[in-house]
């Protein structure tokens, strides 16, 4: 039996074992070391909630052009945009919502409302992982008289510290 050759094989065996282990540790650390990023789902749920609040069954909901909606559409849509007191989030709002209603034929703006942190809008359109998640949706709706409208919705979720790092 070639003893020198045996020893060499066992050294190589450990080298391979270390390489495999290092790769597994690296992959696990990469996957589990970062927080779960749920902002895309959150922004999607937020925009769906606003859409259901503005329009139902293809018709604009009652009160959409009323003072209650204009004054505080977050409250009107049963939304609470307060966040936990960590990473200074209480001082810097973590959400932005926008609703724009346009006449379908003339694209004349009938209503434009915003709520939350307006500065977050500046980050939209830039594909950086540390930036807030922006989501835009459009839908069409009718009023009781049969006039058609285009509704543009935008929702932005920041919450970077708990979802990216």
């Amino acid at each position: 039996m070639n003893k020198k050759g045996d020893k060499l094989i066992s050294v190589y065996w450990f080298v391979i074992l270390f390489i495999v282990a290092a790769a597994i540790v690296y992959m696990v650390h990469t996957f589990y070391g970062k927080p779960y990023d749920v902002r895309q789902i959150e922004a999607d749920l937020l925009i769906s909630k606003i859409a259901r609040c503005v329009s139902e069954g293809g018709y604009l909901k009652e009160g959409v052009f009323g003072e209650d909606f204009k004054g505080n559409f977050g409250n009107f849509c049963n939304l609470n945009l307060q966040v936990e007191d960590s990473y200074g989030w209480r001082e810097q709002e973590q959400y932005y919502l926008g609703v724009e209603i346009l006449k379908f034929d003339s694209y004349e703006k009938v209503l434009s409302l915003q709520e939350g942190n307006k500065q977050l809008k500046d980050f939209c359109g830039q594909n950086e992982k540390n930036f807030p998640i922006c989501l835009e949706r459009s839908l069409y709706s009718l009023d009781k008289e049969g006039n058609s409208y285009k509704i543009n919705l935008i929702s932005i979720v920041r919450k970077t510290e708990k979802n990216v790092y």
């Binding site: 779960y36 749920v38 909630k49 307060q82």
Partner: protein
């Protein structure tokens, strides 16, 4: 005078050491993987976010049942009362599976929501959205 070595015994010892080293190595790797994937911190974050998203999507009048078997096992291990694992204050859900403050995440649904431990199944939590 050179001592004659016992070649059979030497080969056996070398092989045993080699096997033990392999086992030790693989055990350390398995412990590392288990500690990373099923740690209390990972479970706290996972459940807090999962509950927050479920509540965001919920409508008034709904009751949501959530299977939390692995979280309950972890809480039991760390002597945490099952009734206090999930708490909801205003619109912030907190999951606590070990000593400490736990993991908190906010949801935007403004409905009145209460979290209760299902004492019948002892594996679930349920959330009542009013």
């Amino acid at each position: 005078m050179r001592k004659k070595s016992n070649k059979k015994g030497e080969i056996l010892t070398e092989n045993i050491i080699f096997l033990i080293l392999n086992l030790v190595f693989l055990s350390i790797l398995a412990i590392f993987l288990f500690s990373r994937t099923a740690s209390a911190a990972v479970l706290e974050e996972r459940y807090a976010k999962q509950i927050a998203l479920a509540l965001d999507a919920a409508e008034s009048g709904m009751i949501i049942h959530l299977e939390m078997g692995d979280a309950l096992k972890m809480a039991e291990k760390n002597s945490i009362n099952f009734g206090t694992i999930v708490t909801i204050r205003e619109n912030i859900v907190t999951v606590r599976l070990r000593d400490g403050a736990g993991y908190s995440y906010s949801f935007f649904n403004n409905a009145q929501i209460t979290a209760r431990f299902d004492t019948e199944s002892e594996e679930k939590y349920y959330f009542v959205i009013e």
